[in-house]
């Protein structure tokens, strides 16, 4: 990629482009607040009464982020924040729209938009905290095993008797008073940091030793330890928490980071085979996995309860090319249209056009993340950025692919769009970390010609 030239010591320096960010942010706010207003116009016939309060709050949060970036990460990527703001705003408008539809049917129905706005505020808080507290992402490397332990604890929390709760068949929640939370979402971020730190330390052994077979370098048996452990952990997630999506996400994430760190496709082959084996065992062993696969292959087969996926694809088909328009569809027919299936609800009301726009936005986030990894000058930052971007890509693929019947349905949240506090907060943290790394990567390098020590740049040249 041409951007790798940007990190070349004699190349150009990145401009800060904070003005561009502000401009894009305004556009995003127009999208988010505009969608909210359109919902009000369409359903109630007037602009929502709280439009200014709501719009002001959303704008305030975004401006806060922008200001924090200006102060604490002036060279950070200018595109990420506006994309996230647009997605988050759109998600809020859609959740609000579904709330209104639910209220129309039942005055005591649960509403989610208000909570989501609160969670977004918390997310922005965490985002700010990440940027303010973590001044240099390389410091995190020192806490590699702390993060690993934290991830493990977070993953195990839902299995604890009092704290953990089972919702809709998956035991991935903890409940504290009125709040329920999916610790797995946070664990995801911790895992990325842990993997990155671990792999930076051990990658030489993992990368170099091994034997060649069929044109691919396969790792040595004794180096298989970490991948085996990770495999067991994700299987455990699958077995004990009955959460296929997270299981796939964790293992996929680990595999990709291993591959990036070592540049050995052999790991992908070994890992892919292990996952396929594990998934097949899971398929044979668990009825709910079979049901998922069955309703994926033929949703209209009456022997599987495929109500969710059928409603989802009906909704999207009903949306067609340009959609029904916000407030004009029937997203309440789709179960969980405010959370897991929000993508189907968006497909119904915004149509293929809107869906493509959303997917492109997600794609841009991933692209920006990977670009950050390319530009980044230290191996740890590269791995963290890659890991975060790939987590994002995998998660979007798994959930959107599930909702659109590309792959079997699994329960994962749609980043920034669907209702769910843990996911929102965690994803804001991911963006915070990415911005932190990109700020570091894009910052003009110190004047290296005067420095006798140019080791950092050599690392970059090795990619």
């Amino acid at each position: 990629m041409s951007t790798s030239v940007g990190s070349h010591p004699t190349g150009f320096t990145h401009r800060r482009r904070r003005g561009a960010e502000l401009f894009l942010l305004v556009v995003s706010l127009v999208v988010g607040v505009g969608a909210y207003a359109a919902v009000g116009l369409s359903i109630e016939g007037t602009f929502p009464a709280d439009l200014f309060g709501y719009g002001g709050w959303l704008a305030g949060l975004c401006i806060l982020c922008h200001v924090v970036i200006r102060i604490f990460a002036p060279y950070a990527d200018p595109v990420l924040l506006p994309i996230v703001a647009a997605l988050n705003g759109l998600g809020l408008a859609m959740i609000h729209r579904i709330d209104l539809a639910n209220l129309a049917q039942d005055e005591d129905a649960n509403t989610f938009a208000q909570d989501q706005l609160i969670w977004m505020t918390l997310g922005v808080g965490l985002f700010v905290a990440v940027l303010v507290v973590v001044r240099d992402h390389r410091r995190l490397q020192a806490f590699t095993f702390t993060f690993g332990l934290a991830a493990l604890i977070l993953l195990m929390l839902p299995l604890l008797p009092v704290l953990g709760t089972e919702i809709n068949g998956a035991r991935i929640w903890i409940r504290l008073g009125p709040f329920s939370f999916q610790p797995g979402e946070i664990a995801k971020v911790c895992l990325v940091v842990f993997f990155a730190g671990y792999l930076v330390q051990h990658r030489d052994a993992l990368a170099l030793a091994g034997r060649r077979f069929a044109g691919i370098d396969f790792p040595r048996g004794r180096d298989l330890g970490p991948i085996l452990v990770m495999w067991l952990v994700s299987l455990a997630v699958l077995v004990f928490q009955r959460d296929l999506g997270s299981s796939l996400l964790f293992f996929g994430l680990f595999l990709v980071m291993l591959y990036v760190a070592t540049e050995r496709p052999g790991w992908l082959v070994v890992g892919g085979a292990m996952f396929a084996g594990g998934a097949y065992l899971g398929y044979l062993r668990f009825g709910h996995v079979q049901a998922r696969v069955g309703s994926w292959l033929d949703p209209f087969d009456p022997s599987y309860d495929s109500f969710q996926i059928i409603q989802s694809i009906y909704g999207q088909a009903w949306g067609g090319l340009v959609g029904r328009g916000l407030g004009q569809g029937d997203p309440t027919l789709i179960p969980f249209s405010y959370s897991d299936f929000i993508f189907a609800a968006l497909g119904e009301e915004l149509g293929l056009t809107g869906v493509m726009a959303i997917l492109v936005l997600y794609g841009l986030i991933v692209e920006r993340g990977l670009r950050t990894a390319l530009v980044c000058r230290d191996a740890f930052g590269k791995l963290v950025a890659t890991g975060l971007a790939v987590t994002f890509a995998l998660q979007v693929f798994v959930v959107v692919g599930g909702v659109t019947k590309l792959i079997p349905l699994t329960g994962l949240t749609t980043p920034f769009l669907s209702y769910g506090g843990s996911s929102l907060v965690a994803n804001w943290a991911i963006i915070g970390l990415l911005l932190r790394i990109s700020d570091h990567a894009r910052r003009p390098p110190p004047d290296l010609s005067a420095s006798p020590d140019s080791e950092t740049t050599q690392v970059v040249m090795r990619r």
Partner: protein, 481 residues
């Protein structure tokens, strides 16, 4: 890695396109898709009309769906219009032309865009049927005149076009009850109709096959004449009984009479509907020749697209010799829909060319602009040669003038016809058939009448007694116009 990620996103984009664009029509037309159904229900659905009068209309009502589907002449047209039910979907023309009626047809795309821009609820297009209202009325009343609880069917075709002029199935039902917006009423009605042993929802004209009995002798005669070995005046056996090979049983004529001599002409055999002669012919020609001839008329195939559920008529796969003899007189496992027998008759009337049957004449946009008009097309261009068709016509004229079907005579008009009385099982009454067309020299209508059960005494059941008078009424209704 970047490429792998891109591949993931491209896969998502492509799949969304597939789902929301390529497959959307398919998904939107599935029964049970509540979204589509609700939207359709709240839309002004187009009329189904017969000769300018609507037999199904949408009326504005004050409930959540805004429009109520109503059928002004429910009993007479139930099996043609079909029903339009919230819970149970649609049937007949309501089903097959649903896209036009609901306004979602691609041909109405421009209308939808205009409505969208003008912010008007889109309306559905309308459908005009080929039905002749007088013929339909005569068929309906004719069946009812025999018995209140009659089961049977009448199908009339325009032999030159294949357009369906009348199609009545008894018993009938009230589609208004199934279209009710009160779900309980709808469900009750549905349950009652489905529990009824007479199966009122069944369109006996196309959805059920019956042994055609002696009306099938037309097919056997057509095969004989087409073989080149027989002429109308060729002599065939006509005695009291015909010794079947391989069995102890004989094939006998109805009521055990002789057909008028040991050797009679083919014309005579058809005129008196001689089982012995046609059993003999069946054996001489062989099952394959009979089947081939039957298939030329449309046996074994589905050809009616305008109404759902047409079942193919059947000629047995591998009958042995006695079975072939019985098949030749329309017994054993030969079974046909009334529409199929009407097509045999229409094919003979039309000089040997069987036209493809249809019931949708025109499809119009909400502003009455004609979107599509069905142009008649031959279904079998030479089921029989025109010479054979001419011979058969003359033989069928004899049947009506001096033979078994004098009850179908119309003063001043030459009628060609054939009766049939088919045994099926000991415990149920025989089926009475009559097929005919008129005027013989310039056919305007071909009709098939089937009486399944008219509640009359077993001995009183005959094609000429029960079915022919109804066919006569239908033919008169068409010709008199």
């Amino acid at each position: 890695m970047a490429i792998a990620c891109m591949a993931l996103f491209v896969a998502l984009l492509v799949n969304s396109t597939y789902l929301q664009f390529v497959r959307s029509d398919d998904l939107n037309s599935r029964n049970g898709n509540k979204r589509v159904r609700d939207a359709e229900f709240s839309r002004e659905r187009g009329d189904i009309s017969v000769a300018g009068n609507a037999i199904a209309v949408s009326e504005e009502v004050d409930d959540e769906f805004e429009y109520q589907r109503t059928y002004p002449q429910p009993a007479k047209y139930a099996h043609l219009s079909g029903f339009y039910s919230y819970t149970f979907g649609q049937s007949a023309v309501e089903l097959t032309e649903n896209q036009i009626l609901s306004g979602s047809d691609p041909r109405l795309f421009v209308n939808r865009v205009v409505d969208l821009v003008g912010n008007v609820q889109p309306k559905g297009g309308s459908v005009a049927l080929t039905i002749d209202p007088q013929a339909q009325t005569e068929a309906f009343e004719g069946l009812r005149a025999l018995d209140e609880n009659i089961t049977g069917a009448v199908v009339a075709l325009d032999p030159t076009t294949g357009g369906i002029l009348a199609m009545v199935s008894a018993p009938t039902y009230n589609p208004n009850a199934l279209a009710s917006h009160r779900i309980s009423e709808e469900v009750d009605s549905w349950d009652r109709l489905n529990a009824d042993p007479d199966r009122p929802l069944l369109n006996r004209g196309i959805q059920e096959i019956y042994p055609p009995g002696s009306t099938f002798k037309l097919v056997t005669a057509a095969a004989a004449l087409s073989s080149g070995d027989y002429q109308p005046d060729s002599l065939v056996p006509g005695g009291v009984a015909f010794d079947l090979p391989l069995t102890e049983t004989d094939l006998v004529n109805s009521q055990g009479r002789s057909c008028g001599g040991d050797r009679i002409t083919l014309t005579r055999a058809l005129t008196v509907s001689c089982n012995v002669s046609f059993g003999f012919l069946g054996l001489e020609l062989g099952a394959d020749a009979l089947r081939e001839q039957a298939e030329k008329f449309g046996f074994g195939e589905e050809y009616l697209d305008d109404l759902n559920g047409q079942v193919p008529s059947v000629f047995p796969e591998t009958p042995d010799e006695p079975q072939t003899a019985f098949s030749a007189i329309g017994q054993f496992e030969v079974a046909a829909t009334p529409l199929q027998m009407a097509m045999v008759t229409a094919g003979i009337a039309n000089g040997g060319t069987v036209m493809r049957p249809y019931v949708i004449d025109e499809v119009r946009s909400p502003d009455f602009e004609v979107l599509d008009k069905t142009s008649p097309e031959p279904y079998r261009s030479e089921a029989v040669s025109s010479a054979v068709a001419q011979d058969l016509t003359e033989m069928m004229i004899e049947v009506v003038e001096v033979g078994s079907a004098t009850t179908a005579q119309i003063p001043g008009v030459q009628v060609a016809g054939k009766t049939g009385t088919a045994q099926s099982a000991e415990e149920r009454p025989p089926y009475a058939w009559f097929v005919s067309f008129a005027p013989a020299d310039d056919p305007q209508v071909a009709v098939a009448v089937l009486i399944e059960d008219a509640g009359v005494d077993r001995n009183a059941i005959s094609g000429s007694g029960l079915a022919a008078p109804i066919a006569k009424r239908v033919m008169e209704a068409v010709i008199s116009q």
